[in-house]
Amino acid sequence: MENKKIFFSKRGSGYILGKKPMYFIILLICLTISFILFNFAIMKEISSTTVIPDNLEMTILVNRFLNSPDCLAYQDNETGRTYSGVIDLEKFNNKTLEKCYSTEDGNLKAFKLTLESSTLDIPPKDDSNMKRNFILTPNWEAERYTQTPQYVLIYYKENFYRGKLLITVQK
């Protein structure tokens, strides 16, 4: 009988028109929220079952920087041969990186590549075009990141130098 007091007045029809829509609106909002949460939980579960190891994805993408002649890898113009793991210092700029890693999507991995060498000044003193020793992918936002070093060779003006590439990956 208490319930009846909540849902019905003496003029029942008035209650039906007045309170029921409100009840349904609240119910609809609750259902929508639970639906979205439910959906999100399922999507998260699916994603977690298909996670690709972080290292694998990172390695593939870093290989692009180091192996592709369209990226940083040195390519001999005469023979057309590409030298994997040899960085052509003339390609070490944001413009080249943007061409070979063309995304502004923050959900994809973002990189900062810093080049160091004990035998070569980076940026070289005789190269006014190169201002700094690091380059960034277009989607870099400098939030949480991890860093790994990789030893490389640097090609600059027909000479090879030892160097170290610090690969910073934005999480």
């Binding site: 019905f8 994603s47 290989n63 592709s68 369209d70 023979t79 943007e98 070979c100 994809l108």
Partner: protein, 342 residues
């Protein structure tokens, strides 16, 4: 009271029905999303995106990947940034995963409906995705810069010199003649064709110009040719090899142009379907130092557009077969000349 009671039960019934519908929708949605196929679908999309990322990471050369996972229950649609997999339709049950494109390599793919087989290939600056890719992995990546047309250039054709036999070999001379025939037939005026060997008199009626393969003497007419092409047969003790090599002069003033011409000729040979039944194991462009080689070349090749084609391996059966394909070789070589400068 009766009327109110009826209204109440109607209301409760409608609530129950509404709740049941919503519950059913939720369960249906949950069942759809949580089916065991969804993780596999998501895995396939991500895996394919990684395959494409890997192709972008390759240091050059041509690559063909036979995709081994089973995607035959889905439609696979790949554009420049996304791999999209669905069963019923996009935006109904699709899952997409992104890969990172480059500005230089273009993705060429059409939607594949329930593909039994998927192949990924990187050829030149193209990433191709299809269920049956018909490409020759030996295809070379040619210089894209425009060259000057060879139509009005003086072309010197060298069918070869033999050390102990002064006559050019029948094969190379026939290939050279086939090349001249194709070229003069569709493109170049015959007065622009010269040879290191004596030519037959030009036949006005038949419109045929050809090298006299039976004449052992060298031609005494040595014009200032703009382009020189030599033909030789190859010899390799490894009979599994049957290659075509294009030698160009390293350090020549026209090295870039020679490389481009050589590249076009080799690619046209590889693309020639008439040679499909002949096994060609590889093609390559070989720059050489003209002073450091003992090979016999025509004079004055250093700063000319020069390509020496070494065709097949005379030690192997495949090589012998290849050298019998005279018009099948002459035609693509002439196409290389015509394509150069376009």
């Amino acid at each position: 009271m009766k009327k109110r009671g009826a209204a109440l039960s109607m209301l409760l019934a409608s609530e129950v029905v509404a709740a049941a519908i919503i519950l059913l929708l939720l369960l249906n949605h949950a069942a759809r999303w949580s089916s065991t196929e969804r993780p596999y679908q998501a895995y396939l999309a991500k895996d394919m995106a990684l395959v494409i990322d890997s192709l972008y990471s390759s240091p050059g050369g041509n690559i063909l990947v036979n995709y081994t996972q089973n995607a035959s229950n889905y439609t696979v649609s790949i554009n420049n940034e996304n791999v999209l997999l669905y069963r019923k339709g996009p935006e109904i049950d699709d899952i997409s995963r992104k890969f990172v494109k480059t500005e230089t390599d273009k993705v060429i793919a059409k939607p594949l409906e329930k593909p039994n087989k998927i192949q990924f290939a990187k050829i030149d600056n193209k990433i191709i995705i299809d269920n049956q890719i018909r490409i020759n992995l030996n295809t070379l990546s040619c210089d894209k810069t425009e060259g000057e047309s060879l139509k009005d250039k003086k072309i010197l054709v060298d069918p070869g010199y033999e050390k102990d036999n002064i006559k050019p070999s029948n094969e190379t001379c026939s290939i050279a003649n086939s090349f001249i025939f194709k070229l003069t037939n569709v493109w170049v005026n015959y007065p622009n064709i010269f040879s290191t060997r004596n030519l037959h008199e030009y036949d006005e009626d038949e419109g045929i110009l050809s090298i006299n393969c039976n004449d052992p003497s060298k031609s005494d007419k040595s014009p200032e040719a703009d382009v020189i092409i030599s033909f030789r047969t190859g010899k390799d003790n490894d009979i599994t090899n049957n290659n075509i090599k294009a030698f160009i002069v390293s350090g020549s003033g026209k090295e870039k142009e020679s490389r481009k011409l050589a590249c076009l000729i080799l690619n046209f040979i590889l693309e020639n379907k008439a040679l499909d039944d002949t096994k060609i194991t590889g093609v390559s462009i070989v720059p050489f130092d003209v002073e450091a080689t003992d090979k016999d070349f025509p004079d004055g090749i250093k700063d000319k557009i020069f390509v020496m084609l070494e065709i097949g391996n005379t030690e192997s059966d495949d090589g012998k077969e290849l050298l019998k394909k005279i018009p099948e070789l002459g035609d693509p070589i002439s196409k290389g000349f015509i394509e150069y400068g376009k």
